[in-house]
């Protein structure tokens, strides 16, 4: 277990890394609009992957060490739940047409309930967002 101070520092560092990567991507994209170079295009792709990685690290740190008293914690928690839930709904929807009736019925019910839950997570996330501003 780490102390709250260390946790805050860790989260702050992860967030700064993520924000820096985003700034670098924006700058690279603007340059790419002006000069279409293969090298730049490749850099943009690399930065996108680095942002995904940085975002994952930030979320993991926030979920693991962040304080639930902060709205940012809930932003990350609901964001993570919505991502996983949406991925599941997407997979279920894609499969549903090719499934036999037994599965189709069960899957359709799952999709319906999951969509309602994801909606509710979305509302809670927006409330946390308003609180964080």
């Amino acid at each position: 277990m780490i102390s709250p101070d260390v946790a805050e520092t860790l989260i702050g560092c992860r967030l700064m890394i993520l924000q820096s990567k985003r700034l670098m991507l924006n700058s690279a994209r603007r340059r790419l609009e002006r000069t279409d170079m293969d090298e730049l295009r490749q850099r943009v792709e690399e930065l996108r992957a680095e942002i995904d990685h940085a975002q994952h690290a930030y979320r993991q740190t926030m979920l693991g060490y962040g304080s639930p008293d902060r709205p940012e914690y809930w932003l990350v928690a609901y964001g993570r739940l919505i991502d996983a839930g949406s991925a599941l709904v997407g997979k279920l929807r894609l499969a549903v047409d090719d499934l036999p009736a037994v599965e189709r019925y069960r899957v359709s019910t799952d999709v319906e309930v999951l969509e309602a839950i994801i909606d509710q997570w979305g509302r809670s996330m927006r409330a946390s967002m308003a609180e964080a501003v």
């Binding site: 914690y73 928690a77 996983a84 599941l88 036999p100 009736a101 037994v102 599965e103 309930v113 809670s124």
Partner: protein, 178 residues
């Protein structure tokens, strides 16, 4: 952990020309993996934020996710055609039956319920047998012994070894010798 097999859905879901025997095994395994991920995030949030207003609702969400997870795990076992009777630790597959030890039955049941995921020896010891004192070598021996027993019912390839990641269940598992 008992392998609970869901009853077959009522006939009213069957439409003319419908093929109810189609195996949806790979899809089901994929859903189980994401349901597990969702449940794990929910559990982690609930444990950290216990006592907050949000948690009451999240607990209800978790109850639904866990219920579906259980149901899809059962369905996966049903589609795989593997039946484990925990009373006498017998395994039936493709019309053949063998007696396993309790440890072997628990291990196979655990792996079948968590498809598409490799587990290290340490994880298996804790999660399948609730015994963290078993050494890696002991787990390896149990796995090898189980694999050898499974050969008797034609399931020799079902437990796979994923290099540096552990043991898992083969994606190609399906109703055998029907």
């Amino acid at each position: 952990m008992e392998a609970r097999v869901l009853p077959t859905a009522p006939d009213l879901t069957e439409l003319p020309g419908e093929d109810l025997t189609t195996s949806a095994l790979p899809e089901v395994a994929g859903w189980i993996a994401i349901y597990e991920e969702l449940a794990s995030v929910l559990r982690s949030v609930i444990s950290r934020a216990d006592g907050s207003e949000e948690v009451h609702q999240l607990r209800r969400n978790l109850a639904f996710i866990e219920d579906r997870l259980m149901a899809w795990r059962d369905r996966h076992a049903e589609l795989a055609g593997v039946v484990i009777d925990h009373k006498d630790h017998s395994l039936t597959y493709g019309g053949k039956s063998i007696r396993l030890t309790r440890r072997e039955a628990d291990l196979l049941d655990f792996l079948l319920r968590h498809p598409k995921r490799p587990f290290t020896s340490k994880q298996l010891a804790t999660l399948a047998w609730q015994n963290s004192r078993l050494s890696d070598a002991q787990v390896r021996t149990y796995v090898m012994r189980l694999r050898s027993r499974l050969r008797e019912v034609g399931l020799e390839q079902v437990i796979t070894v994923v290099r540096n990641r552990g043991y898992g269940i083969a994606a190609s598992l399906g109703r055998g010798a029907e």
